[in-house]
Amino acid sequence: MQTYFIRRLLLIIPTFLGITLLVFTITRLVPGGPIERIIMQVQQMNAAERGSRINFTKTNQSQPLSDDQLNQLKKYYGFDKPIFVSYFIWLGKILTGDFGNSTRYYDPVLTMIVERMPISLYFGFFSLIIIYSICIPLGIIKAIKHKTIIDNSTSVIVFIGYAIPGWVIGILLLLLFAAKFEIFPLGGFTSDNFFDLNFFHKILDILWHTALPLFSYVFGSFAVLTFLMKNTLMDNLASDFVRTAMSKGLTFKSAIFKHALRNSLIPIATGFGNNISIILTGSFLIETVFNINGMGLLGYESIVDRDYPVVMGILVISSLLFLTGNILSDICVAIVDPRVQFK
């Protein structure tokens, strides 16, 4: 077992290098980037000046910067070196913990990410608790009450949630509960007077602000886990060992909870470790709808703005989390299923 996990941990290194090298190369090949943005900015500035002095003679519109200036910029951003060389320079910096600065806001990338993490953690943690604490009991009930009204009606609700995108639910909720009935705020994470509130009211304020976005986050996530739980439990209820348990004199209820349930948790444990990536969760659409400055928005904007240090910084953290999440899942499976032996 130990050697297996050591091997898995070592495998993170080549996988990580592969992922980052691929994305790094893509950032070099796609059009756009900091230099193009600076050129655009200079053009806009020129245009604005021209606007004030109407009868100015035409200058070269296409390229306001001289070659010398361009080369200086390329050198500053490291675009003058070949891809591999600059990749390894970047990698060396990452290994020392230097994520670089944003080419857009000129802030350190790491602080930008760390600043948003509490919001992602908040949403990730609560959606995790809500999803698991609803899906597992609901799956059990649906399996026992298969094809009854309870089963069918919850299926309809769960699938409606699955079919509607989260941001659409967000807009609908805002229209209904923030615009029409003004029960919840229109957006944001905290009130304006947040820092004047006492601790208890601070918590209430956050809960009040996040109720609608949280609902939009989780409503679509019930279907998969609920049905995984229901179907595996139903398989196990029909299995021979549950019949054996019943023939020993157990009640149906204890046969479910002592025998069928533990076996049904095995497939659910398979995905459990990946919840570690809640640190970086966030959907930019929902964040946009509710005006929350979270990780989803940061990731999206960094790509649109070609803010490559931020893109790479998020990629480094998310790929590392995902890779360790996979190993954690393996450990979870090994805990619930004694048949699993890693060699």
Binding site: F241, R243, A245, G249, H259, R339
Partner: protein
Amino acid sequence: MGKDYILEIKGLVTSFNTESGRINAVEDITFKLKKGKSLGLVGESGCGKSVTALSILRLIPKPAGNINSGEVLFKNNDLLKINPDEMHKIRGSKIAMIFQEPMTALNPVHKIGKQITEMLDLHKPEMTKNEKNKKALDLLNKVGIPDPERRLNEYPHQLSGGIRQRVMIAMALSCDPEVLIADEPTTALDVTIQAQILDLIKVLQKENNMSIIFITHDLGVIAQMCEDVVVMYAGKIAEIAPVTELFKNPMHPYTKGLLESIPKLDNIPKTKLNTIKGVVPALNELPKGCRFQNRCPYVMDICKNDPPVFIVKNNHKASCFLLQGKFRNE
């Protein structure tokens, strides 16, 4: 019910809801089990042997299956009428069951020891934990499992099929049941292991004075294990007789066919084995009248009617029109 008998099944009908409607898996099953003796339930796959056994313990999967009518008298107590709590107390402690598939009948995520002591937790709550563990160890010893201390802490997947079936037997015997229902306990095992398991069951039966219902499709096993035999075909009883009587003097054409299809030592080598022509009709398209008519070599016009039960001899009954006029109706 006479005092020699411990279990009596009367007119049992169990049905299942399927996509093609409600079908009776067993119909009008009636037999008695003698105290301390073995009764064999024999027939082809799907003839209702297991459904009969599961009906006795009320383990028919709900809501698809349902026991429609009949009585299961255990010491003059109708098990189909008692409330679920009393039934839970009888399962395992008074009537225990072992199953066909030792590979899947044990829970893969619990240790062997835990699965055995669970039975004691349920029916002998007065025992202490140490006593239970000791009892589990004794049981594993009794069923001939080598190195039982180690086995107690192992999971089912670490054991072979034969050992697992021994564990199942140990589990079933842990509360000294009066009746053991063995549903094809050796079908999934190879012949050597099969012989060992059969011997083991026989020895334990003598020790505990246990009554056994032995379900199998193997007439050889029946001859070795049982005093009485019930031959079932397509959900109904074809013939009931003491074992020697059945082998010597089979009355129902189906029983005859079964006996003829056993290969014999004095057959000429490489000749074809005798078979019963045709296949068992599906339960939703049974012919009207005798259910064996489409395969029976002696089929007559009268077979379109339901055959009555004829009493051939004391304890020997068969349900076939060939016996009409020769023996009296039940």
